[in-house]
Structures are given as structure tokens and as C-alpha cells.
């Protein structure tokens, strides 16, 4: 039954930029990012809290943005894949994924980059087991994960200058 839904004001900081919008309370964070802010780097894969293609950082914690209402991000700081590069330079994690062939079709990559970002922000030299645990919520159907592990290890090296 279609009905008019009262919109709710939302103030949120995405990739260092402040946004204010009035949105329907049922709007998901991933829909908000893609449709309201045109930040289409964050993908919708399964829309069932499984695949992790929609992973973004919310106040420093990786979350599946298909499983958070946009209004819940009020006053939050969000980091999406678009926020990784600086001044036209790819982030070391992005560069490592390219150099190690850590992607094929690339659909899952934005989520994996953000999960890697969270991992490396508190663990500079993760073991293979720790990498496995950190990306267990990110599904890739192309690569078999081998090169993703290599990419994350390479990103860890590059970040610490090793």
C-alpha cells in the first residue's frame, strides 16, 4: 500500500565532506550513498548481509551498508571507496590490489578495500589467518582469494615502507 512517508533530516560526513539531506527513514545507507550522493563506488551485491560488496567504514568500523538505515548514520563519519585516493593518487591499498592482480571483475573490490583498510588500521602486519578472518565477510566470485591475500600482504608492506 503506497503511502507518503515523512522524511527525516540527516546530517552525515562522507569522505570528509558534510552533507545534509531529508530522507525516508526506510532508506538504506547504501542507497543513500549511491542515489542521494551519487557515490556509486559502493556496490550492492546480494542485499542480504552476505557478500560485503557494500562495506563502508562508519565511525571507523567496517559495516555492511545494506544493513544499516541511512538515518542511523546521523552525525557519523563514513568512508567509502571514493574517499581512499588523495589528490589523484591511489591509496597504497588500492595500488597493491592493482599490482598483485587482487581483482578480476572488480565488483567486490570496493568492499574488500574498505575491509583491508580497517584491518591495516589496527594491525600493520597481519598473518594469513588474520587476513582470512578480516575478509571473511567479503565474497569474491572471480579470484579464488589467493591474489587478494597477496594484495593485502603487499599493501601492509607498502604502508610500513618495508
Amino acid at each position: 500500500m503506497p503511502e507518503t512517508i515523512e522524511k527525516i533530516p540527516l546530517k552525515v560526513n562522507v569522505n570528509g565532506k558534510a552533507y545534509a539531506r531529508n530522507i525516508e527513514p526506510r532508506m538504506l545507507l547504501v542507497e543513500f550513498l549511491r542515489e542521494e550522493l551519487d557515490l556509486t563506488g559502493t556496490h550492492v551485491g546480494c542485499d542480504t548481509t552476505y557478500c560485503g560488496a557494500c562495506t563502508v567504514l562508519m565511525n571507523g568500523a567496517a559495516v555492511k551498508s545494506c544493513t544499516v538505515f541511512a538515518v542511523q548514520a546521523d552525525d557519523a563519519e563514513i568512508l567509502t571507496v571514493e574517499g581512499l585516493e588523495k589528490d589523484g593518487q591511489l591509496h597504497p591499498i588500492q595500488k597493491a590490489f592493482g599490482d598483485a592482480y587482487g581483482l578480476q571483475c572488480g565488483y567486490c573490490t570496493p568492499g574488500l578495500l574498505i575491509s583491508t583498510y580497517q584491518l591495516l588500521s589496527h594491525n600493520k602486519q597481519p598473518s594469513a589467518k588474520e587476513i582470512g578472518k578480516a575478509i571473511a565477510g567479503n565474497t569474491c566470485r572471480c579470484t579464488g582469494y589467493q591474489n587478494i591475500f597477496k594484495a593485502i600482504q603487499l599493501a601492509a608492506q607498502n604502508k610500513t615502507g618495508a
Binding site: T49, C51, G52, A62, V63, K64, Q72, G137
Partner: protein
């Protein structure tokens, strides 16, 4: 507020179950009350011989907590639920209040002395966990009542516990799970608590399996007898995760392994375990 908007409202905690259920239209609440902006309902404290978890404490916070690690079974559970992203959002209070038969927390905490603190405009009451969940997705919570805290008694020395869940992949619910707590004296099992997850309408307390261990010498034979009794207590539904027989066989193996780890922990050994993947 929930009293004002009436019984078409639902409370939103971490949302990692409720939001997917709403997408499937299994839940269709007219109003949602988001608890996430309430201050001071996320905490982990040790007080008077008990661990106290604020209802909105995220699984990830419990996973990283040195206080929670005093009960290794609690750390194991928190660290194995779904994946990083879900653990960053999902809450212990939400999991208990949802009473999903495949949820991890109820199974684990049934083997512990656990109390659910429930808060309403009329006041607070404490409900033992084994009386809190009454059926699949059903608890004794009144409409105007919410879970405010989960309280787990720290068990005495020479007690050990372990939780094993068998999963096909991180983000899915386990196919079957088993939690075991034992108190030992020498080679004798003084007390045992065994709970099974995902194989019934609620987490099942396998009382016959407990009886098979209690007062017995801990031998391969007594452990096998308890595991066999647990298999008989399981009442699984066949589904995409496996046939009923397969799940019963899993229960047997998981209970046996969980007893062995619980006993080693009761003897003071540090044993690292986590969810098992297919």
C-alpha cells in the same frame, strides 16, 4: 516511547537480523525505535563475581574485551559470529531478545548462569535465561519491555567451557553448534552443562547428556555416551544446510570435541578454538 506508539513498533538494536528480516517482509513493523543513540547501554563490567554486558554491546567489543576473555567461551562466541562487519554492528542484547534458534549467544549462555535484565516503565526485573526464551523468536519480554543487560556469573575454579559452531561460510548461520561447560575434580566431572544450537525451535539444553557426564570419570567412553545422548536430544529440521541425520551426526562430533576442550580448559590449559568451517 514504545508505550506511546503502540504494538506495531519494534526495537532496533544492531539490525543485523531485523533489517534482513524486514527486507524479506518477514517483519513489517510500522515503527522502528532505534536504540543506538541511547547513551551508556554499551558496556562490559565485572562486578560481584559476574560479567555484565550492556544490551547494545557489539559482538566486536566483546571479542576485543580483556574482561570478557575471562570466560573464554564468551570470547570464542563473540569472535566467531558471522564476519567483521556484522560483529561491528550486532549486539548481545539484540541476539538474546530476537531468540533466533540459530543464534550463537543463547546456546553459549545457556551453559552459564545467565540472567537477562529486562526494563520497562514499571521497573526492572531479572529473568534467568532458561526461562527467558520460550519458543522460536519468542521471549517473555512484554511489549513495553526491553533487554537492558545480560549478566553472566563467573564460574568457580576448575570449570571450563567451550563453544563449537559448524558453518559453511562466515556470514551464514551455523549448521549446528554445541556449548559445553564442565566442573572437574581430578578426573571426575562434578557438574556439566550442555546446550545445542540450530537443531530445535530454541537452543536445547541436553539434560540427558549432562547426566551422562555428571559424577562420572572423564573417559573416552563417558564422553562418547554424553555425545550420543546429545545427538538424541537434537531435533533438527532438514534444510539447505543439511539433512536431519547429517545435523545429528554433527551434534555428536561437536559435543565430543567441545567436552574435550572444556575439560582441558578446566585443567587450566589455554586452548584456542573458533567456529569451524566446512
Amino acid at each position: 516511547m514504545i508505550t506511546q506508539i503502540g504494538d506495531e513498533a519494534k526495537l532496533l538494536a544492531g539490525g543485523q537480523s531485523l533489517i534482513p528480516l524486514m527486507k524479506l517482509r518477514f517483519a513489517n513493523p510500522r515503527h522502528l525505535v532505534d536504540l543506538n543513540f541511547i547513551p551508556d547501554i554499551s558496556y562490559i563490567k565485572e562486578e560481584n563475581g559476574a560479567l555484565r554486558f550492556g544490551a547494545l554491546t557489539r559482538h566486536a567489543e566483546i571479542e576485543d574485551s580483556a574482561i570478557a576473555a575471562k570466560l573464554p567461551i564468551i570470547h570464542d562466541c563473540a569472535a566467531g559470529i558471522a564476519d567483521v562487519q556484522v560483529r561491528n554492528r550486532g549486539t548481545i542484547g539484540g541476539s538474546i531478545a530476537e531468540a533466533d534458534p540459530s543464534g550463537d549467544w543463547a546456546t553459549v549462555l545457556l551453559t552459564q548462569s545467565t540472567e537477562v535484565r529486562c526494563l520497562s516503565p514499571k521497573g526492572e526485573r531479572a529473568v534467568p535465561l532458561n526461562q527467558f526464551i520460550t519458543d522460536a523468536y519468542t521471549t517473555v519480554l512484554a511489549h513495553d519491555e526491553l533487554v537492558s543487560e545480560i549478566r553472566v556469573k563467573i564460574p568457580p575454579k576448575r570449570t571450563g567451557a567451550a563453544y563449537l559452531a559448524f558453518k559453511r561460510a562466515a556470514p551464514v548461520y551455523p549448521t549446528a553448534s554445541a556449548a559445553v561447560s564442565v566442573a572437574i575434580e581430578g578426573d571426575v566431572c562434578k557438574e556439566a552443562a550442555i546446550a545445542l544450537g540450530c537443531v530445535g525451535l530454541t537452543a536445547i539444553k541436553a539434560t540427558a547428556a549432562e547426566a551422562a557426564l555428571r559424577g562420572q570419570q572423564l573417559t573416552d567412553k563417558s564422553i562418547a555416551a554424553a555425545a550420543e545422548a546429545a545427538r538424541n536430544a537434537a531435533d533438527p529440521q532438514p534444510d539447505m544446510r543439511g539433512s536431519a541425520g547429517y545435523k545429528r551426526a554433527l551434534v555428536l562430533a561437536l559435543v565430543k570435541r567441545a567436552i574435550e576442550i572444556a575439560v582441558r580448559r578446566a585443567r587450566g590449559e589455554q586452548v584456542e578454538v573458533s567456529h569451524i568451517y566446512a
